[in-house]
């Protein structure tokens, strides 16, 4: 079989970062964060559906939500949202034909902002502020 032809079955290779440029790393990060945020959306809807089961079921969940494991999970959601959002801003700017010569620098700059924002939220969340 000629495996070299384009095929949807090659989708997994989107996530192979070996020998790739910074643009593809951003491409991979954007897909991973999008998948993570989509999973979170369904989890969020599932949690909200507990309201139907009555106030006690929801209160039990809120106790669970304060556990460190869930907080770490929430931190991943915040990180995913920030990274995906800022990367999306870069893509929009570039897609409108602007800042193309500095698109790598733009990505690095936005990811530094993302890192700073993630650290800020982590401190706030885990210090209880």
């Amino acid at each position: 079989m000629n495996i070299n032809k384009p095929s949807p079955s090659h989708l997994w290779r989107w996530f192979d970062p070996r020998d790739k440029s910074i643009g593809t790393i951003a491409f991979i990060i954007n897909r991973l964060s999008a998948i993570g945020l989509t999973i979170y959306l369904f989890l969020h809807l599932a949690v909200l559906s507990k309201l139907v089961a009555g106030s006690q079921a929801y209160d039990d969940f809120l106790i669970l939500a304060k556990s460190p494991a869930i907080k770490i999970g929430e931190m991943f959601v915040i990180a995913g949202g920030i990274i995906h959002g800022l990367n999306g801003i870069r893509i929009t700017i570039n897609s409108l034909g602007f800042l193309l010569k500095i698109q790598n620098g733009l990505l690095v700059g936005l990811m530094i902002i993302a890192l700073a924002a993630i650290v800020y939220f982590a401190i706030r969340m885990f210090s209880g502020a």
């Binding site: 079989m1 000629n2 495996i3 070299n4 032809k5 384009p6 095929s7 949807p8 090659h10 989708l11 290779r13 989107w14 070996r18 020998d19 790739k20 440029s21 643009g23 593809t24 951003a26 491409f27 870069r90 893509i91 570039n94 897609s95 409108l96 034909g97 193309l100 010569k101 698109q103 790598n104």
Partner: protein, 244 residues
């Protein structure tokens, strides 16, 4: 070129039509200032005459010898041995991705050439049209009737590197969209607009810019696709306000 001789191991992809693929290993001695294409030719000349690969000009003009060298798209005639391995090192040589393999390292790039023809790709263009948008600033004193060869050598390496071309056989691909940008530097024709402003055209690109990273000729397909988007968006807005 100095007299140094390196011993290197070439692991080369082999496949005939739809037969089972495999890798064959060859050990050769070569000057590190020679090129990867020279190493492949040595394998063909001294080890295995059945090895098939494409090559012609040997000076990065024809675009025939694009291959994967250690997993990265390289024009093998200008990739020195020294830049990709070391003495007693290894080289993995594979055909370009996203094109059907015809034989060993030879891929069928006819789909790209057909699409280029459809878009009206011309190898000679007016000076402003052949240059990248940011290069045009230096052309103020040049006369627009001057013509030159466009930079694209139709090697197909941008299509090989593109993640979207990897999964979607209908996607026009960076080479074709860059050519469309080249052809559309003059007023946008309805024919080009119809081809590029489509599901498999400009809007399928996902901004990985891998095409620009591997292009050996500084065509910057990624930049051209984005500039073309800008042109198409401007065209749509104009159309919207000219309806009344």
């Amino acid at each position: 070129m100095n007299d140094t001789i390196w011993t290197i191991e070439l692991k080369i992809f082999r496949q005939r039509a739809d037969a089972q693929r495999y890798f064959q290993t060859f050990q050769i001695e070569i000057n590190p200032d020679e090129y990867v294409l020279d190493a492949i030719e040595k394998v063909w000349a001294f080890h295995d005459r059945s090895l098939t690969f494409r090559h012609a000009c040997h000076h990065s003009t024809c675009g025939a010898c694009g291959m994967l060298v250690n997993g990265i798209e390289k024009l093998t005639c200008i990739t020195s041995i020294r830049s990709v391995t070391q003495n007693n090192g290894k080289l993995l040589i594979e055909p370009l991705r996203n094109f059907p393999v015809l034989s060993d390292l030879v891929v069928d790039t006819s789909s790209m050439f057909k699409a280029l023809e459809e878009i009206g790709f011309n190898q000679v263009a007016s000076l402003p049209s052949a240059c990248l948008p940011y290069e045009r600033k230096t052309l103020e004193h040049e006369r627009s009737e001057y013509q030159r060869l466009v930079d694209c050598i139709e090697c197909g390496m941008c299509i090989s590197a593109c993640p979207v071309s990897l999964t979607d056989s209908n996607y026009l691909g960076p080479a074709v969209l860059a050519a469309a940008h080249d052809a559309s530097s003059q007023p946008l024709s309805n024919k080009i607009l119809e081809i590029v402003d489509s599901r498999d055209g400009l809007w399928r690109c996902h901004n990985a810019f891998e095409c620009s990273a591997v292009c050996p000729s500084n065509v910057e397909p990624g930049l051209r696709i984005m500039k073309m988007r800008q042109t198409v968006i401007a065209h749509r807005i104009k159309k919207l306000f000219s309806r009344g």
